[in-house]
Amino acid sequence: MAEICIAPDASARSREADHPRDSLVVRFGAEKPLKLDAGVTLSPFQIAYKTYGTLNAQRNNAVLICHALTGDQHVASVNPVTKKPGWWETMVGPGKPIDTERFFVICANVMGGCLGSTGPASINPQTGKPWGLDFPVITIRDIVRAQAMLLDQLGIDTLFAVAGGSMGGMQVLQWAASYPRRVFAALPIACSTRHSAQNIAFHEVGRQAVMADPEWRQGRYLNDNANPRRGLAVARMGAHITYLSDAALHRKFGRKFQDRDNPTFSFDADFEVESYLRHQGSSFVERFDANSYLYLTRAMDYFDLADDYAGSVANAFKGSETRFCVVSFTSDWLFPTSDSRAIVHALNAGGARVSFAEIVTDKGHDAFLLEEPELFAIVRGFLDGAGRARGLAPAAAR
């Protein structure tokens, strides 16, 4: 009985990885391999993406949105897997700060992801089975390199802007460093030029939780129609705490009990916060592939922009003509303001044009995804200013 229940689940996950719903897909054949930092090439591979708005005749109004660790291409429309609104609908859409009536917005699932871009859940054409741990380790630079190939394919030479938070922000910084002439404006939010030891440590706890689940089966769970649900859920629960803040958790849950007046003197989810975390964990495993989680956390761990530029981030941005707007949040302890300030120092030292705003909020790292009017005003103002400099038509009066 259990076998029958699990079987369609695993194949559905595999299907989403190769044939994503509600997405555009570009496939790169043997003539266009993806050169990876790990020293190998990936070929063939595919990228799943979504677009919103219209590319203008000058082809200069394209905005690339880079998603975070567990995000996807469904930035401003209903996610076909979760049936929930797009993950950044507060920011991207008609009349929103990243206005789809003005900009041509592109968002691609990252390489290594599980919603249509080639990753460990995709079928390895050489074996006819999911890649699993045979999938090569990828880096933020690999992810960005693949995105650049997608833009080549779409005939977009220069992006008006690249924007993203967290791991998305890392991609923004990598874009500005790797392809300075292709990026007119860059919006790295709540991110860093390198993943800190503390953040690597948190990721390692999450990975160990996944790998400790017997259902992980050395990464071959898809072949066996299994799923390391418990391990991945624990990884998500741990990570989720790092996306919030002490103050936000206290405001939201305090020490309130869940559907009961007294403690049960057991290990039930007595507290609301426990119940909330369990829900976060269990809903996450329905939409995310465990191996993708391993690969993408690894990609973030390896990110250190200074490494590629003789140990100095300033070198990465030397002479850059890109306009930057760096944003951080006061209660973000995963990517604290000091990380953003280091980006700003490097940009200043490189002579780049940079704005930097720190937003007061108790919502922690996740603030970039939430209702933060000050963030919206800043993004809107920054893009308006950059749009004037770029000669884009102003937003229609609303």
């Binding site: 760096v326 030292a349 002579g351 940079v354 930097f356 705003a357 000050e374 800043i378 200013g385």
Partner: protein, 219 residues
């Protein structure tokens, strides 16, 4: 600097042209060559940067201590970062700008000399404007009133003032001398925002100038 935004609002009532721009800011704008690369240290809500962009077509950047000021500036599309003149100027490379401007902020810095020296290092020119503590009304308040002065330009009580390093025009000239700054141009404004006679002696400026604007370069 913490309260530049607040202070700007007060000064807004003091001296504006019929067009609505602050006289001291227009004076600074006149000193800046068109198209120059400019850093405004303590840029408040970005009014001077906006003015410089409109009138002189400069490539402007700003540093501001107050979070409200920064976010307001960025919202206007200006390149403004949150930072502190006393600590963050050291991060800028030599000759990064044509002009580094310190408008109504000198008196709020902890180390005015270090700030001025950094300005001259980062920029080929430095422009400094400040309230003149040698103005006769201030002297009168201290000498006869026997209390710390409060004026339209300097509205704070002594205990909550962000201004910790007041100086007179005479004092500032001495700072220029010890910091290796060459005075290329100097203007003093009276209480109504009009420039004082150019050929007036320094003591006259020091007594009747309510604020002063200096254009400096390296000696």
């Amino acid at each position: 600097m913490l309260s530049r935004v607040k202070q700007d609002l007060t000064m807004a009532e003091a001296a504006r042209t019929p067009g609505g721009s602050r006289v001291d800011l227009l004076l600074i704008a006149d000193m800046v060559a068109p198209g120059a690369k400019v850093l405004d240290v303590g840029c408040g809500d970005g009014e001077l940067l906006r003015l410089l962009g409109e009138r002189r077509g400069v490539d402007g950047r700003g540093i501001e201590l107050s979070r409200e000021g920064v976010n307001e500036g960025v919202t206007k599309g200006l390149a403004v970062i949150q930072g502190d003149a006393d600590t963050d100027l050291a991060d800028y490379p030599n000759d990064a700008f044509d002009y580094v401007i310190l408008s109504q902020t000198l008196q709020a810095t902890r180390h005015p000399r270090a700030v001025l020296e950094h300005m001259l290092r980062i920029g080929r020119h430095a422009i400094v404007s400040f309230p003149n503590f040698g103005h006769w009304r201030i002297r009168l308040q201290v000498a006869l009133g026997g209390h710390m002065p409060q004026t339209d330009n300097l509205p704070y009580a002594w205990w909550d003032s962000p201004n910790i390093h007041f100086c007179t025009i005479k004092d500032f000239r001495q700072l220029c001398f010890v910091s290796g700054a060459k005075m290329d141009k100097a203007v003093a404004l009276n209480a109504w925002g009009s420039p004082l006679r150019l050929n007036a002696p320094w003591w006259f400026w020091n007594l009747f100038g309510e604020q002063a604007v200096f254009l400096l370069s390296r000696r």
